[in-house]
């Protein structure tokens, strides 16, 4: 077991993990953060995305010991006060149907808008291309993120 200390949704946490523990499993099963979802377990679908020091990462491809000294944000963290503008846009544009992939898309969109507050539609598509959605046909997701950009 290894001791790791990290920030989760703004709060400093310490815990013991096995060296082989996957971040997604630790978040869901040991820390109760259920918004990252497992949809493929090999980095294809993006449903398990979380922000690691502000960058979107696939938590199914990261070991828990790698986050020692770093900061993780999940949708639970984004939703603590009010929904963020991009989350509100997702609600208003019907950018979800079953809702299972939505947390991953919101993480990817949040990362994009943090780094580039005024993305073009092509930049939005590119930034979201690593997340799979089977319900919406993506258009309402792209529209929601574009609505948060001043360029659209």
């Amino acid at each position: 077991m290894e001791k790791i200390t990290f920030k989760l949704n703004g709060e400093v946490r310490s815990m013991e993990v096995e060296s082989g523990d996957v971040l997604l499993d630790v978040l869901r099963d040991k820390l109760g953060m259920k918004s990252p979802k497992c949809g493929c377990d090999r980095g294809d679908c993006g449903a398990c995305s979380v922000l690691l020091d502000g960058k979107g990462v696939r938590s199914c491809l990261i070991l828990a010991i790698e986050i020692d000294g770093h900061e993780i944000v999940t949708i639970e963290g984004l939703s603590k006060q009010d929904l963020t503008p991009v989350q509100k846009a997702f609600v208003n544009f019907n950018s979800f149907q079953c809702g299972f992939c939505a947390p991953g898309f919101i993480i990817s969109a949040t990362e994009l808008l943090n780094e580039n507050p005024n993305p073009t539609k092509e930049e939005v598509k590119e930034a979201l291309a690593g997340n799979l959605c089977r319900c919406t046909g993506y258009m309402p997701i792209i529209d929601a993120v574009c609505s948060c950009s001043n360029k659209e």
Binding site: K37, S79, N94, G99, A102, N131, R134, Y138
Partner: protein, 781 residues
């Protein structure tokens, strides 16, 4: 026209905040505490074999393993329409991935590790992987006991063959119809298997508590059907329906894949041996591909005769379905197509044969479209080819033959009111049909493709829906249904239906996800029927509550019930315009009389809906005489396709789809279905390509090798068009629209390729590679 306040309005989804904030709970998100056990399934590595021995001794030795179970622990059969499946394989396996044993451990990793130590000894049998070979004489028979399997009365299995069901439809005089034709086109179309690819895995947790009650939490489109099948399968252990409870939280995508019963029965069965402990089964992405239902493959032989003016005189449609190792659900796909494979056309003389054929591949079952995408590929390709031969515009040919209200259907009943002509007109206008588009890029060509669509829900004649509706103190509502929100927005639409009757805004309404202990019965959330069926039940429950309110006001205050109405959460009276009584004043606590006594009490509505006009009693040789389908939803679609002449790479520049939904209760949700369905449909034709090896093993059960479109692969523009010709027996005129949206995708692409290049592709998928090879072949001619 009624003045509607909440119907026809694109209100915000009532599940939006939950799903966007991370609060929505899916089956795998539920915490079960420290007693939770994990089961890993040991699967067949052979497509067809006898099980000679199962050695579980090494697995049992692993620390943390609680127990190991095999088929002999659960000699139970199950099945929705035909009981041809066992919970665990008994003496024989029939596809690679079939469940043989389960290792139950304290944690998932241990279960997985121990499952690898279970040794299966097989005696291999010849595998049958091709449906046409399966029906040759002398073929290996997969189910020698087929003749004894219990099934619904409208199935016709052929004992001692691999034909599990043959739906025959005959009308008019086929020979005379072809004799009358000026032109006959005959050809074969091939549609392979597909996978649903909901992003959420199947997940089920079973628990038998110390009192002996079984609860199953499952990601499910069919909680009541699951309870029924669990109770039936486990009846020898003493379970009755009241002892079985199914709780279905939010579903992370269904598309038919979470309908009926697949892996959920494993959790139910295992729980019976593990009293006191919940036991969880979570499928992996690989298992999602090969051990839930797959969409059936089909080889369709189609012959259509037409007059020179394009009038269809005869149709002979023979469909040979690769239905997989077990057809307990998939046989009904075959059945529904056997009744509807005319498409939305008037066909006076016809013969349809739809054969459900066992193969040693994963079981086929419900998939969005339920067989209609598959037969429409051939039929709508055929219509274009006929138009080309006759020199008639393909849209004009469709208009001339399109089915009208009251026209006779293949099985003799009459077509419902529909707006197919309006759909055709609107799509043709929006895509600028007839205008030849020239690509500005010299390396690419452009083509347009058109297709019609139709589909009816495939339901047993007595499939029903029901609703309880409860008022709260503030006149907010909880509505209990067992229809499932699988993403389509059912909860929101049901809130709108109740809101309209009771004048309560949808923002004050919660619609609860199913729990069979608490919510009343719903057959299943399949067939795009819940807006219609469940919507009718919700409307009836709301009317029941409203009638109770009016009766109470009459009894307590003496105002005549027939002069009362609801508006803005208040009771009002047409005789006394100045009088009003807020609902929140009395819907729980009653109305106080002058003497201080109260009348009334909590207002609770109930509603039950069953389509009482349907019947499957028909002549098995012709399918004439019954009324198997409640109604058809129709539509039209077209697209503009750009094709790279060298690589075959295709880009859809614009898609237009018009669907007659009867009444769009929430137009934005209908548009969401159209956009999402179009992209899912295009995925099956342009990208998804399921591969098996020559022993029946699926080669690409993952998203790296089985390609779903991403944000970069979607059409540049999708134009959804809503047409509203009311369904007389639908809630506010609504009929279903979920599945229909993806139906025309494949023939539209095939027709656009023909338009652009003069190449006719008759098998799916139509990948860039296939197009490029056809271009090369054409250039060599």
């Amino acid at each position: 026209m009624e003045n509607l306040k909440f119907i026809g309005k694109s209100i915000t989804r009532i599940d939006g905040k939950e799903k966007i904030s991370g609060a929505a709970v899916f089956a795998d998100d539920i915490d079960f505490g420290t007693t939770l056990l994990f089961a890993q399934i040991v699967e067949s590595t052979k497509a067809h074999a006898l099980i000679k021995n199962i050695d579980i001794s090494e697995a049992k030795k692993i620390e943390g393993v609680v127990d190991v179970f095999t088929g002999k622990d659960f000699p139970f059969k199950f099945g929705l329409y035909m009981k041809d499946r066992f919970v665990f394989a008994q003496d024989k396996v029939r596809f690679i991935g079939e469940q043989i044993a389960a290792v139950v451990a304290r944690d998932a990793k241990t279960a997985k590790r121990a499952a690898k130590l279970v040794k299966i000894e097989y005696e291999e049998l010849p595998e049958v992987l091709d449906q046409m070979k399966a029906i040759e004489s002398g073929a290996t028979i997969l189910h020698p006991d087929l003749g004894s399997y219990p099934h619904v009365p409208w199935f016709f299995p052929k004992a001692n063959t691999n034909i599990a069901h043959h739906r025959k439809t005959r009308k008019g005089n086929l020979d005379a119809g072809f004799a009358e034709a000026d032109y006959i086109l005959e050809d074969t179309y091939v549609v392979p298997r597909y996978a649903h690819c909901a992003i959420e895995f199947h997940s089920a947790i079973g628990k038998v508590d110390y009192s002996g009650r079984l609860t199953v939490w499952a990601s499910s489109q069919s909680p009541n059907t699951q309870r029924n099948l669990f109770a039936e399968a486990l009846s020898s252990l003493g379970f009755t329906h009241k002892d079985v409870r199914v709780i279905a939280p939010y579903v992370g995508g269904g598309f038919g894949g979470k309908a009926g019963v697949t892996m959920e029965i494993l959790a139910a069965a295992l729980a019976t041996k593990l009293k006191g402990s919940p036991v969880k089964i979570l499928w992996s992405r690989e298992q999602e591909f090969y051990n839930t239902y797959q969409r059936l493959g089909v080889i369709a032989k189609l012959k259509i005769g037409v007059k020179n003016d394009g009038t269809i005189t005869a149709l002979d449609h023979q469909l040979y379905w690769d239905a997989g190792a077990y057809v307990e659900y998939g046989a009904n796909v075959v059945n529904s197509v056997g009744l509807s494979a005319t498409g939305p056309y008037r066909v006076p003389n016809l013969s349809i044969d739809s054969f459900c054929i066992y193969t040693n591949l994963p079981p086929g079952g419900a998939y969005r479209g339920f067989g209609y995408s598959e037969f429409l590929f051939g039929l709508e390709s055929h219509m274009n080819r006929i138009a080309k031969h006759l020199g008639i515009d393909p849209v004009e040919l469709r208009k001339r033959n399109a089915i009208n209200e009251n026209d006779s259907l293949a099985y003799g009943a009459h077509m419902n009111p529909n707006g197919i002509a309006e759909c055709i007109e609107k799509v043709a206008k929006e895509i600028e049909w007839g205008k030849k588009e020239i690509s500005k890029n010299p390396n690419t060509v452009l083509g347009k493709g058109f297709s019609l669509l139709w589909k009816a829900p495939a339901m047993p004649p007595n499939a029903s829906s029901s609703t309880f509706l409860k008022f709260n103190e503030d006149a907010s509502l909880n509505i209990l249904i067992s229809g499932m929100d699988i993403g389509q927005g059912l909860l929101t639409v049901m809130a709108q239906v109740a809101a309209e009757v009771l004048s309560i805004p949808p923002s004050k309404i919660r619609v609860e996800t199913p729990d069979t202990d608490r919510n009343p019965y719903e057959w299943q959330t399949v067939g795009s029927h819940v807006t219609w069926g469940c919507g009718n039940a919700v409307k009836l429950a709301a009317i029941d509550a409203r009638d109770q309110i009016f009766a109470l006001v009459e009894r307590a205050l003496g105002l005549p019930a027939d002069k009362l109405f609801l508006e803005d959460e208040k009771v009002k009276c047409s005789l006394k315009p100045e009088w009003e009584l807020p609902l929140k004043n009395f819907v729980i606590n009653g109305i106080m009389k002058e003497d201080g006594t109260f009348k009334g009490g909590p207002i609770n509505g109930r509603g039950t809906f069953m389509p009482e006009f349907t019947s499957t009693n028909a002549d098995p040789e012709t399918s004439q005489g019954g009324h198997p389908n409640v109604h058809y939803t129709v539509g039209a679609a077209a697209l503009l396709l750009e094709i790279d002449k060298e690589t075959g790479k295709m880009k859809v520049l614009k898609v237009v789809e018009a669907i007659d939904v009867g009444k769009a209760i929430n137009p934005n949700l209908v548009k969401g279905q159209i956009v999402g369905g179009i992209v899912q449909g295009l995925a099956t034709v342009l990208y998804e390509d399921m591969r098996f090896d020559d022993r029946g093993k699926m080669l690409n059960p993952n998203f790296t090798d089985y390609k779903l479109p991403t944000t970069l692969d979607i059409p540049e523009e999708i134009v959804p068009i809503i047409v509203e010709v009311a369904q007389p027996d639908g809630p506010y005129g609504a009929r279903g629209v979920g599945e229909h949206t993806m139906l025309p995708a494949a023939p539209m692409i095939a027709n656009a390729i023909d338009d652009a290049l003069g190449i006719r592709i008759k098998s799916m998928p139509i990948t860039a590679e296939k197009v490029a090879l056809e271009i090369i072949k054409q250039s060599k001619k």
